[in-house]
Each structure stands twice: as structure tokens, then as C-alpha cells.
């Protein structure tokens, strides 16, 4: 059920000829008590799924905006357990699929099997671990499979053809196409070959291909969505929510319709 919810959401978007939009929020940033409200707001604004960041003290794949959000969340006392408990509360009446993005260590400390089990119980559909390359997947795949959680792989601009093939073949949930060489955060533009890169991924990927990292304007959303199945937007959403600018978030999500 959990993993399938994500697949269904992408199929629904495709059926009506639209593109997917997956916003990222940092759990606990702005208070854990507001988490379910934020999720509802993003769902009502038209998000296809939501990426929920669990804060980690040393987020090496993240730029300044998400680093700062993680520090705010940790200072507010956010823990893995508290986030899962909060999310589980509205499990039954929540339509939008949730995907957790975090680093390996908080999960390792929680216990991989226990974490997968708690995710299933909380209605989480997938997991993104930016510090877990193909070579080390053995640490989590069994537990995730058992509990119906999709392991969402990231493919990079630097990935070799051989690695792209392997990642695309294993893709489940969606294939996360990292669109910049670097960390998360706003960018002015993307490399020239980005369109061809995304199209090539889409051709071989089993799961939908979503572009992410550096996507921060309606123009980016439109530009990248034309080559793949949609986008993930992180830093811009985190920044707007932190400033209390919900309108900007809604406008950004709405831009997917024009894509």
C-alpha cells in the first residue's frame, strides 16, 4: 500500500497530462505541531507527493538553506521518533504520499529494520538517502522491501553510463535526477546538456524521472519538466515557508500546470 500510493500519484498526474511537483520541507522547522498543517497546505496547493526532510547534524549534500532549516529543527528538539509519531496521526485521512529524505546515520541509530517498520506504520511511501550509493544499498534494501518502502535512487550529472543504467534499472518510486554538480540550493541556471540528460534518463528508467537540486523558479519548473516527469523543489520552499510566504509556495506549485 505504502509504495503503491506513490506510484498511483504519479500515474494520476500523467493521465491528466500534467507534470509532477514534489516540494521538500524540513520536519520540525517551524515546530513539529505545524507539520501536518504544512502537509495539508502543500497537498491542497497541488503537490503530487511531499519530501519530508529529517534533520541531520552533518548534511553534506545540502546547501546553506536546508542546513539552516535542519539546525532550526534540531534546536527545536526534533527527533526521528517524534516526526514519525506526528505523521502517523493523520495517516488514514491523508491522500498525498510522503517520502522521507535524510542521511543514513539517524536511521542507522534508530535501527534500519525498526525504522522501515515505523515508516510503514506511519504511511510513508519512500526513502531518499543522499549518502547511500549503489555500493552500500545492502544495508537497507531488505528491510525497505519487507515494509513496502520505495528506495528512491539519485542519479548525478557525473554518473557514468554504466551507473546510470544500473540506477535506472533499479529505480522505484521515482528516479531522482540531480540537476547540478553540487549541493542543494538555488541556482541561476543549469548546464546546457540538462535536457538531453533528462530525456536519456526517462528513456531507460523504470520509474518516473524527477529533476531536483537548484530548482527555484517557475521558469526552472517549466524548463525542466518538459524533459522529464516533474520536479522536486527544496530550498526555495523551505525558505518561503520560513518567511511565512505561503503564496510564493502556492504559486511555485501552480507553475507545474503550465509546464
Amino acid at each position: 500500500m505504502t509504495k503503491a500510493k506513490l506510484d498511483t500519484a504519479f500515474q494520476t498526474v500523467e493521465k491528466v497530462g500534467e507534470k509532477a511537483f514534489v516540494p521538500y520541507i524540513m520536519a520540525g522547522d517551524g515546530g513539529l505541531e505545524n507539520l501536518n498543517e504544512s502537509i495539508r497546505f502543500l497537498a491542497e496547493s497541488g503537490a503530487t507527493a511531499i519530501e519530508l526532510g529529517l534533520p541531520f547534524s552533518d548534511p553534506v549534500a545540502d546547501g546553506p538553506t536546508i542546513q539552516a532549516a535542519g539546525i532550526r529543527a534540531l534546536e527545536a528538539g526534533t527527533t526521528v521518533q517524534a516526526v514519525l509519531d506526528e505523521v502517523a496521526k493523520e495517516k488514514d485521512n491523508r491522500m498525498i504520499p510522503l517520502v522521507i529524505m535524510t542521511y543514513l546515520n539517524p536511521i542507522f541509530a534508530y535501527g534500519v529494520e525498526a525504522f522501515a517498520q515505523s515508516c510503514e506504520a506511519a504511511g510513508i511511501s519512500g526513502l531518499i538517502l543522499p549518502d547511500l550509493p549503489l555500493e552500500e544499498e545492502g544495508l537497507v534494501v531488505k528491510a525497505l522491501k519487507k515494509h513496502n518502502i520505495a528506495l528512491i535512487r539519485l542519479v548525478a550529472l557525473t554518473s557514468t553510463q554504466e551507473r546510470i543504467q544500473a540506477l535506472a534499472e533499479r529505480s522505484e518510486g521515482f528516479l531522482y535526477a540531480v540537476t547540478v554538480a553540487g549541493t542543494t540550493g538555488e541556482r541561476a541556471s543549469f548546464v546546457n546538456q540538462i535536457g538531453a540528460h533528462l530525456q536519456a534518463l526517462k528513456e531507460i528508467s523504470k520509474a518516473p524521472v524527477l529533476a531536483g537540486f537548484g530548482v527555484s523558479t517557475p521558469e526552472h519548473v517549466k524548463e525542466l519538466s518538459q524533459y522529464c516527469d516533474g520536479v522536486v523543489v527544496g530550498s526555495k520552499i523551505v525558505d518561503a515557508l520560513n518567511r511565512g510566504d505561503k503564496q510564493q509556495v502556492a504559486d511555485l506549485i501552480a507553475s507545474r500546470k503550465e509546464a
Partner: protein, 401 residues
């Protein structure tokens, strides 16, 4: 000789390469380049040339007679890594990795630094080989080690002060990794310690094992036998693994790794990952780690910038669990006392990092025989720490706050 890591970079349960996909191709490229270089006599010849003519190896194994008498214990020898060019063991590794950088056709290097020794050693070899060099250093360390910052700049490196976290080594590694991720196509990351993703722990060990290889030969020449014990300080663990590795199969040689006990293990303000931590993943490898119940990495504390790190190399974790090396901790205060003791008995001012190993001699002396031989890795000289030491003695102890 023990044959680890495995092909996949694991040391028992530890090690691995937990890095973003963006870095994986560079990690694999580095692994290949390193394997080829190891087999290439030309590369080995070049290494030997620079280590002898530029670094000044081999370093002496010095019999510290007055220290031995002072402690009324075993015959203590100091492996004088402090006499290397740039004043510490760090250059053994940076020379090797800079030559690897050239082999891979890259023109730029990035590195992290804690005490500044690795940064200086990286800036030095960058100047030597004409590489562009950028160094990330925690804000607190920039303050503690101002002279080393200036040294690096003098050598033509760009030093970036890192504000995040406590502004120490861990934060510098985070930023260096982020920089590497964004510039991986033309930049090599000269990792300074025997930690990080595979193949770094192996590369650093193999470039640092010259410490133990020389020591083994020298101690046999001087004493006609292997030592009863060897001691080295452990932050990430590069000088220690370099000293220990050639002795791993000599089971009669006891080995002691000394971590930073900071204000005492009970205070929670220390950097003793092996003694007090539990297995976790930081900076690309699975190893002992200072962390809370929720898997958040804890801020370490040590008066010594080079030991102020919450993680440790995976091979040390392996050696700990295998029971081959005993790991223990020395406090800031004990290390400061050891600086004074070695300065006054031998006329050698040790780096604060190395002073942790010297301090441990005081603990071992009473339980060893007079005819026993104890080798201490004196990983670096204390010139860089003189200000810190003076402030500490003036304020009667801590100066981290």
C-alpha cells in the same frame, strides 16, 4: 601482513563509502589510480625521492634517556615525525596524494584542516607541484591556529573559514566535501586522515605506514628486538595507523591509541570516539562515532585542534573490536603537563596532539619493566601550539570557551 580492507573498502563491519552519487565516479577513479600507482615503480621512485630529498626522511628514532629516567620506567624512544618538513607526519600523505592528483590529470586540490598541519602540508605540496589549493578550516581553529593560516596563505593557498557548527574539524570536512561535490571534475580532495570513504582510509594508511616501517627497522637496529609497546595519538588516526599497521601481526607488541579526553570522559566534553562512541556513519564511513541517541553527531572537545573530531578511521574501529589495539583517553590537562615534561626533559616541544601520546607514557611506565622498550610516535612539533599552551597555563586550564 593483514589483508584488509576488502575489495569494497570494508574493515570487518566498518568502513565503506557512504557518499553522494555525484562523488562516486571520482571515488572509483581514485581507487583505480591508487591501485595503479602502487604497482608503478616510477611512482614509487618519485615518492622515495620527495620523501628523502624534500621531506627529510628517514626521521630518527630517538632514545629519550632523560624522559625514561624521569618516568622511572621502560626505555622510551620517540619516532621523530616532528622533524619532517612542515613539522608533522601529515606531509607523508600529502606528497603521495598530490602525486596521485597529477596522475589523474587534475590541477586543483581541496583539503580540510583542524590544527592546520594538514592544511600546511597540503599547501606546501601544492606549491611544490604547482597545484591550485583551497583549504577549509573551522572558524574556531582559524582563531586557535592563526599562524598556520598565515603559513598556508604564504604558500599560495586560499583558506576558507567555516562558520557552521562549532567551527572545528568536523565542520571543515563537511564544507570541503560540499566543495568537492561541486568541483569534482577538476579537483582532488586530499583527505588528511585515515577516515572518510574508501579508498581514503587505505590510501592514507599506505602513505603513512612508512612511520611504522622505519620504526620497526630502527628499533631492531638499536635494541636488537621489537618494542614491547608502541603509543600514538588518535584523532582521525593517521599517524597511529601509520605506526601500528606494520606491527599488527607482531602480537607481542602491545599497541595503544590515545584519544583526546578533553575535560574528562565523564564531563561529556571530549573527542574520544573509540572509547565512548558507538558505530555510526559520518563523512563517508561507518566507524565509531560520538553521537546522541537520535544519531545526531555530537560536538567534540579537545584543547588539541587536530584531535577535535567526533569520528575516527574505520581501521581503528576494526582493531579495537578485534582487541588488537587498546584505546584510551588523556585529558587536556594531562596533555598540557606532558608538553612541559617533554620540553624540560628532552628539549623537545611536542604538538598538543602528540603530547597526548607522551602523557600516556606516564600511565604505562609503572606497569612496564625497565628493560622494556616503548616507542612513542611524536607526530608533530609544538611551535604552532605555543600560544595555546601559554594561554592555557595563564588561565590555569581551559581556553576552549
Amino acid at each position: 601482513m593483514a589483508t584488509y580492507p576488502t575489495e569494497t573498502g570494508h574493515y570487518g563491519d566498518f568502513g565503506g563509502r557512504f557518499v553522494p552519487e555525484t562523488l562516486m565516479p571520482a571515488i572509483l577513479e581514485l581507487e583505480k589510480a591508487f591501485k595503479e600507482a602502487k604497482e608503478d615503480e616510477g611512482f614509487q621512485e618519485e615518492m622515495r625521492y620527495y620523501l628523502k630529498q624534500y621531506v627529510g626522511r628517514e626521521t630518527p628514532l630517538y632514545y629519550a634517556e632523560r624522559l625514561s629516567k624521569h618516568l622511572d620506567g621502560p626505555r622510551i624512544y620517540l619516532k621523530r615525525e616532528d622533524l619532517n618538513h612542515t613539522g608533522a607526519h601529515k606531509i607523508n600523505n600529502t606528497i603521495g596524494q598530490a602525486l596521485l592528483t597529477q596522475r589523474m590529470g587534475k590541477k586543483k586540490v581541496v583539503a580540510e584542516t583542524g590544527a592546520g598541519q594538514h592544511g600546511v602540508a597540503t599547501a606546501t605540496v601544492s606549491a611544490l607541484l604547482g597545484l591550485e589549493c583551497i583549504i577549509f578550516m573551522g572558524k574556531e581553529d582559524v582563531r586557535r591556529q592563526a599562524l598556520n593560516v598565515y603559513r598556508m596563505e604564504l604558500l599560495g593557498a586560499q583558506v576558507v573559514s567555516v562558520d557552521q557548527g562549532n567551527g572545528t574539524l568536523k565542520d571543515a570536512v563537511n564544507e570541503a566535501m560540499r566543495y568537492w561535490t561541486a568541483n569534482v571534475e577538476d579537483t582532488h580532495y586530499i583527505f588528511g586522515t585515515a577516515a572518510g570513504p574508501h579508498p581514503f582510509p587505505q590510501i592514507v594508511r599506505d602513505f603513512q605506514r612508512i612511520i611504522g616501517d622505519e620504526t620497526r627497522k630502527q628499533v631492531i637496529e638499536a635494541e636488537g628486538k621489537l618494542p614491547e609497546a608502541v603509543v600514538a595519538c588518535v584523532g582521525g588516526g593517521s599517524n597511529a595507523i601509520g605506526m601500528f599497521y606494520p606491527f599488527v601481526d607482531d602480537l607481542d607488541v602491545k599497541m595503544y591509541g590515545v584519544e583526546a579526553g578533553g575535560k574528562g570522559l565523564l564531563s561529556g566534553m571530549h573527542a574520544a570516539s573509540l572509547t565512548e562512541g558507538k558505530a555510526g556513519i559520518l563523512h563517508g564511513s561507518l566507524s565509531y562515532l560520538l553521537q546522541n541517541e537520535d544519531g545526531q553527531v555530537q560536538e567534540p572537545h579537545s584543547i588539541s585542534a587536530g584531535l577535535d573530531y567526533p569520528g575516527v578511521g574505520p581501521e581503528h574501529s576494526y582493531l579495537k573490536d578485534a582487541g588488537r589495539v587498546t584505546y584510551d583517553a588523556i585529558t587536556d590537562e594531562e596533555a598540557l603537563e606532558a608538553v612541559r615534561m617533554l620540553s624540560r626533559t628532552e628539549g623537545i616541544i611536542p604538538a598538543l596532539e602528540s603530547a597526548h601520546a607522551v602523557a600516556y607514557c606516564k600511565k604505562l611506565a609503572p606497569v612496564m619493566n625497565k628493560e622494556d622498550v616503548l616507542v612513542v610516535c611524536l607526530s608533530g612539533r609544538g611551535d604552532k601550539d605555543v600560544n595555546t599552551i601559554r594561554e592555557a597555563h595563564e588561565t590555569g586550564g581551559d581556553l576552549h570557551d
